[in-house]
């Protein structure tokens, strides 16, 4: 009888251990979480007489339930201006804040832009919108006109 109890105990432990293992794998596979982001703030400035730049403030994104960040994309008026991928072997989990780009983003002076941030994690297929700004109006470019000086 004692052996029978021991066998059942071993059986129980084995089943529980296997159950724990499979339950550990389930959330990552089944989760359909979407990356979240705090705020997205952006501006447009004139960098030279006819050159305007979009500047996006540093931002954070977060993944949940064991998912990992795979991709980020910034779009201006629906067109990509920054395409970003994480490490294929060790993508980040939890909160991640990409570093600011060095030269900011190209823009056309006088145009207004809506900036949107899209993200993709291992729990979903493809990019989804996580944050966007209102319209950012770029300053008007100031064309420099050189008029020939006529002298007598």
């Amino acid at each position: 009888m004692r052996r029978l109890v021991t066998l059942w105990a071993i059986c129980g432990v084995a089943v529980a251990a296997l159950g724990l293992r499979s339950s550990g794998a389930q959330p990552a596979a089944a989760a359909t979480t979407v990356v979240t982001s705090g705020t997205l703030n952006a501006s447009c400035y004139r960098a030279a007489a006819t050159v305007c730049k979009l500047r996006v403030e540093p931002f954070m994104v977060g993944t949940f339930f064991g998912t990992r960040l795979e991709a980020l994309q910034l779009q201006a008026n629906g067109q990509p201006i920054w395409d970003f991928r994480t490490d294929v072997s060790n993508p980040p989990a939890g909160a991640y804040g990409p570093s600011p780009v060095a030269l900011d983003f190209g823009a056309v002076c006088g145009h207004a832009y809506g900036i949107a941030l899209f993200a993709d994690d291992t729990g979903q297929e493809g990019l989804s919108l996580v944050a966007q700004t209102g319209l950012v109006a770029c300053p008007l470019g100031q064309a420099e006109v050189y008029v020939p000086l006529v002298t007598r």
Binding site: R3, T6, A17, N77, I81, D83, R85, N90, G106
Partner: protein
């Protein structure tokens, strides 16, 4: 007697399964240890001006085998297999710790509309040859200023 033998057999099967499961977990931990020196790199491409795209890599740390007394010798950042950033450490006193290089000032040149993969190849004194320490997924540079 026959029933007892059957029970013992069932018990042995269960113990065998438990050992197999344990071996599986141990194998996974061993894999994790091998990849423990991986140095993830994350990066992308942005458009900085008309027809001017740039590759930007987030700050990364090169995890060397410092537990074994390794020192970082060199690393190179590649874009589509072409070197874009070559870095060599001090010959007399190379770093003996996980090393984080400072970001470059102007990012890296890229072609607009082209798709890139970046990878980090490094070598410490315990590596016989340079090894791939990290690699991004593929991303595409924007085609034009919106």
């Amino acid at each position: 007697m026959k029933r007892r033998g059957g029970l013992v057999l069932v018990g042995l099967v269960i113990v065998g399964l438990a050992i197999l499961a344990s071996a599986w977990w141990t194998r996974e931990e061993a894999d994790a240890a091998v990849t423990g020196f991986a140095s993830p790199i994350n990066g992308g491409c942005y458009i900085a001006a008309p027809s001017q795209c740039r590759l930007h890599v987030d700050p990364f740390t090169i995890n060397i085998n410092d537990g074994a007394g390794a020192r970082l010798m060199q690393f190179t950042l590649y874009a589509n297999g072409n070197p874009i950033y070559a870095f060599t450490t001090d010959v007399s006193n190379p770093p003996n710790y996980d090393y984080t290089p400072s970001p470059v000032a102007l990012d890296f040149a890229a072609r607009c509309g082209e798709t890139y993969v970046m990878n980090l190849v490094a070598q410490d004194t315990t590596d016989a040859n340079p090894l791939n320490y990290g690699q991004t997924g593929s991303f595409t540079c924007p085609a034009m200023v919106p």
